[in-house]
Symmetry: C2
Subunit: 346 residues, 2 copies
């Protein structure tokens, strides 16, 4: 018996945690209500970007948080610990952070959880931290009773400095859109693992910290790298819709240019789910001025995590807020998903 049961009440739905339209509405209607503003000049929660940016002595302190509820805890290519570190490091990077200072780790675990599994998760956290060049500097541990929590929830929050903030607004007509690699691998790998789908080991989550890859693009693109977003929950489709809506522009996506791995392609056909609609955990979408595009692309491809980087679309003044897919045979409107097709994907 929960202490919040009552008749006829409006209730939170799974879609409201799935990274798409429904979630944005919940955040706007509930969590952005009536709080005080941050320090003067702060780009805060109301910007609904990948993190906050607070002006400090001529640079920006970036701050971002994510909770992680993925199930199963271990899946091909990664685990909840690797996601917890990568997700936060990548959100810092998406805001232009080039100097991560530290992460905090909040652990909420169910009573009776295997100590050995917890140690495996911690080993993965430590390894991913080393890969990303960032430390867990502080933490918190809570234990909930049996039946009060399914397994393990992690929260990671990160801070770091950015010389300039890269936001998810400010796109202009003619800007090109790049993605740093194949899309859909993470969400489809988790769904396949949950469904017991056998795909011959070809499908693995892309979960990885991409701070170093992003720094390479920032160095190459300079001010010509206009905007960034990591296409996590809701996938590339959701990220492109947010970019388009926030700048009041349309986006034309060249479907044949979007990199999709063989494994993700197979899983997406088996499951009937478009790889554009599912989460990535080691990718970025970048909007760049046309003159900077080849430089940024070359810089991305010079990094192991960016070798499949591609130019996938263009911003236009047509159809503001919409994403048009050019299939090569014709054009269709890309639907804006409610969010991720399955819960607990990250």
């Amino acid at each position: 018996m929960n202490d919040w049961d009552g008749p006829g009440e409006r209730r939170v739905s799974l879609a409201e945690g799935a990274g798409g339209r429904a979630m944005r509405a919940l955040i706007q209607e509930v969590f952005l209500q009536s709080g005080p503003p941050g320090p003067p000049g702060t780009l805060g929660a109301d910007c609904m970007d990948d993190g906050a940016a607070i002006p400090v002595d001529g640079r920006w302190l970036i701050m971002t948080t994510d909770s992680h509820v993925v199930k199963p805890l271990f899946f091909p290519g990664g685990d909840i610990g690797r996601i917890a570190v990568s997700g936060t490091v990548n959100d810092l990077a998406m805001m232009g952070c080039t100097e991560p200072l530290g992460l905090t780790l909040g652990v909420v675990v169910e009573e009776g959880f295997s100590r050995e599994l917890l140690e495996r998760v911690q080993a993965s956290i430590a390894e991913t931290c080393r890969e990303a060049g960032v430390a867990i500097v502080s933490g918190d541990t809570k234990v909930m009773g049996r039946g009060e929590l399914d397994g393990l929830v992690l929260n990671t929050t990160g801070v770091g400095f950015a010389p300039r903030v890269v936001r998810d607004v400010g796109l202009a007509h003619g800007d090109l859109l790049l993605v740093t690699g194949t899309v859909g691998d993470h969400g489809l790998a988790v769904m396949a693992a949950r469904g017991g789908l056998e795909l011959g080991g070809e499908l693995r989550s892309d979960v990885a910290p991409i701070g170093a890859l992003v720094r390479r693009a920032l160095d190459a693109g300079g001010e010509g790298l206009v905007a960034m977003k990591d296409p996590t929950r809701g996938g590339l489709a959701s990220a492109l819709h947010e970019l388009a809506a926030k700048s009041g522009l349309g986006i034309t996506l060249d479907e044949r240019a979007v990199p999709v791995s063989t494994g993700a392609r197979a899983a997406s056909e088996l499951l009937g789910i478009d790889p554009l609609h599912v989460a990535n955990e080691g990718k970025a979408v970048m909007a760049v001025r046309p003159e900077a595009a080849e430089r940024v692309l070359a810089a991305l491809r010079s990094h192991p995590l960016g070798r499949d980087a591609a130019i996938i679309g263009r911003c236009t003044t047509e159809q503001p807020g919409r994403v048009i897919v050019d299939t090569g045979f014709g054009r269709r409107l890309l639907s804006e998903p409610e969010g991720e097709p399955m819960p607990r994907i990250c």
Copy 2:
């Protein structure tokens, strides 16, 4: 069926989340293993203080995190939202932070949770933020399926600057211990609410942001304010044991000097639980050099949240690591609790 069930495994216990010895052991054995260090000079997770301190341009960036699982969500004197903001703001203050920059808020909520209750929690978060003079600058929302989570879990992480770090070490023989007000109110109020105990409205949680109170003490005490700790999970007993152990000193506690409210006294007698052993959410313990004690005490008492402040003990070289209670009739050893007597107190 959980994916982590196996025979004969060592398992996480409720005590390991309760703020006492068992939790410290879990953190040391699991979470402090093998991660990389923070930036040079960082006081990180291995210090097991209330937060981390990272040196930045001649001052310290403080970073601290807490997850909140309290049940019931609303109780006399507060609610989960007020705890979430106060707990993190207070941990920042305990590290010497005088300039909080912002908080992040991670929300994990069960599918079907009442939207109206979520709005009430958010209103309390916003109000407590205004009281504390700090904003939620970024957030994250996840929804777990029915039966996968009991209600609501919040994570708040805070950052801010400190001109100097106040740690929980460095006590010396003769230092005096102060508490900023009555102890035990929070834990006992939650336990009473959960048990349906009627105490005539006299017992209320003390949950409050005490950054302004602490700044007053820092201004008055200067370097003479040696150490601070907030006696949350495990109560005053746990905080004093940590202070004693970390400095290799003993502490003599004058039991008659410890402020306990009438309501907490009544509940503690009814429940058979020592108010020294339960959580506070709006109090601090301070160690001060003898010559600074009266100044700090007067500064605390000049603030509405510190009017019951008292000198409650003294550091000695006798019995290192132990806390001796002087009852007025004799002396007894204060037991070091495993942690909070009940789970989900904060």
